[in-house]
């Protein structure tokens, strides 16, 4: 490399500063945040605005307070799960769930404890250097081409005498992902894609980051047709952009082609997220509480989609303002 050329680039880059208008905008955002914070009460803190976080997280955070502290006292399951023992624990989502069948049945609705975290495409061939899994967000499950779909579940636990909680996930194509959110100095202990340990309240604290369950959904079966339409469309867009970066790459498409593309996108969105939910439903989540006296207790859970999740999810996609997601998943304590 020409050293002088790079020195010149470094000089140019180091002269770049945040523009005044961006600084002013940032100052305004900080002021708004201060204002919102000063107006909030202690109870309010659980729904403090997170300006640029995905909406599903905001919704999840907003619901935790209401559901944990509301359902905790009204759901019969809670007393049964936690009791008055000095040592006890249960997954809050399970304990605070709403029974889907007769009393006594341990299968509970997951309610607002679940939310979608987005999905994006993956194609091993697109990684020129043959090391795609160096990417922090992608974990190798032998998938060559497909979609990586994150689902956020509130995995916090309630109980007493808990020193730490260890989470383990067993299932094909599914794994944990950790987003440090704000405080990157406090990742879960020994975090791996299939196991991690946290303090008893860590997963209730947004500052400690978020845990997703991620499913690598391969392109096969129902997904093939929609994925092919998408790939072809994106390929033509790339070609159009390469040819003329300043033009709208969609201008070369006919209305019929755009309609077909949009329909394929909608279908794919539903199919990918439904398939991801099914993959999660085939996995088993084991949570082990280690109590202060050194003893441990484990519970195994299955978080599964409802049978008609595809239809229900489509309905949700058609009207994103729908807030009732209570029936998308159920949670069952296996042992």
């Amino acid at each position: 490399m020409n050293r002088n050329l790079f020195d010149d680039y470094r000089k140019h880059m180091n002269e770049v500063e945040l523009p005044d208008n961006a600084r002013e905008s940032l100052n305004r955002a900080i002021l708004e945040e201060r204002s919102a914070c000063s107006q909030s009460s202690a109870a309010h803190s659980t729904r403090k605005r997170l300006p640029t976080r995905p909406a599903w997280r905001i919704a999840a955070a907003a619901c935790i307070g209401a559901i944990v502290f509301g359902c905790l006292f009204f759901t019969p399951a809670v007393d049964r799960m936690l009791g008055s023992d000095e040592k006890s624990f249960a997954l809050t989502a399970y304990a605070a769930g709403i029974a889907t069948e007769n009393a006594g049945n341990v299968k509970l609705a997951l309610g607002n404890f679940a939310s979608w975290g987005g999905w994006y495409s993956f194609d091993e061939l697109a990684w020129e250097n043959a090391s795609p899994y160096e990417n922090d967000f992608i974990h190798d499950t032998d998938m060559k081409k497909g979609y990586i779909c994150s689902i956020y579940f509130d995995l916090a636990c309630e109980g007493s005498g808990i020193a730490s909680l260890t989470y383990e996930l067993e299932g094909e194509g599914v794994y944990f992902n950790f987003d440090p959110a704000r405080d990157w100095s406090t990742p879960p202990e020994d975090f791996t894609r299939y196991r991690f340990t946290v303090g008893p309240d860590d997963l209730k604290n947004a500052d400690k980051g978020f845990i997703y369950i991620v499913a690598n959904v391969p392109v096969e079966g129902d997904l093939v047709e929609s994925a092919a339409v998408l790939d072809e469309h994106l390929e033509r867009m790339d070609e159009a952009l390469a040819e003329n970066p300043d033009e709208n790459p969609n201008e070369g498409f006919t209305q019929d082609e755009m309609d077909a593309y949009n329909e394929a996108m909608n279908q794919l969105g539903v199919l990918v997220q439904t398939k991801a939910a099914e993959m999660v439903g085939e996995s088993v989540l084991t949570i082990t509480a280690t109590f202060y006296d050194g003893t441990t207790e484990s519970h195994r859970y299955r978080i599964a989609p409802v049978e008609d999740i595809e239809e229900r999810y489509q309905k949700l996609m058609d009207d994103s303002r729908l807030e009732d997601r209570t029936s998308l998943f159920t949670i069952e304590q296996l042992s």
């Binding site: 880059m13 900080i30 914070c37 987005g118 790459p249």
Partner: protein
């Protein structure tokens, strides 16, 4: 979630001394001024709410750059969704670049063009090491990867950059002769 926010004095100091570094990293990562400014805002709002105790400015800078790198990767993912969901926005991305003489000079620089063809994970390491001047160990902390991985990526990044620059210089010579001063980057293979 915290109720206590950082003081005005703290935030002013952080913005005065570190906003540039955060912006440059976001710019190197996302290669779009408007997107980079979005990330800067998100990062400093995170700082506002963060309860991390910093030993000194260098510690805070490392934290900010780490959060910036994470936000940029998230931004790419959400950008992909935007792209496939609302492709009309693609053209407006190009139009949204802020008119800034410093940025224009940067965007026309051949190294900027050559960096465009580096995978983002290599580009970010080259930026942190060769522009911001961080050691491989410090970059490992910032990105949460092993120092050996940083060294590998730096080596590969520099090598690809050299090759890209060679290709671009050739392309620039050809296009300049044919069309005048056109420095559009050419695809690198």
């Amino acid at each position: 979630m915290t109720d206590q926010l950082r003081s005005e004095q703290f935030m002013k100091h952080a913005l005065d001394t570190l906003a540039g570094s955060v912006y440059r990293l976001a710019l190197a990562h996302l290669r779009n001024a408007a997107d980079a400014q979005d990330v800067v805002q998100d990062v400093f709002l995170s700082l506002l709410k963060s309860t991390v105790e910093f030993h000194d400015d260098e510690h805070m800078k490392a934290w900010l750059l780490h959060v910036t790198a994470n936000r940029c990767r998230e931004y790419h993912r959400s950008a992909w969704r935007r792209r496939v969901e609302s492709t009309d926005d693609v053209a407006s991305f190009a139009e949204s670049a802020v008119c800034d003489p410093g940025l224009e000079a940067l965007f026309e620089h051949p190294v900027w063009a050559a960096l465009a063809h580096l995978p983002e994970k290599l580009r970010i390491v080259v930026h942190l090491h060769d522009v911001e001047g961080y050691s491989t160990e410090a970059i490992a902390d910032i990105l949460g990867i092993l120092p050996a991985t940083v060294r590998t990526r730096l080596h590969r990044g520099r090598k690809q950059l050299r090759e890209n620059l060679g290709a671009n210089e050739q392309a620039a010579i050809i296009t300049t002769k044919q069309k005048g001063a056109n420095h559009e980057p050419q695809p690198f293979r």
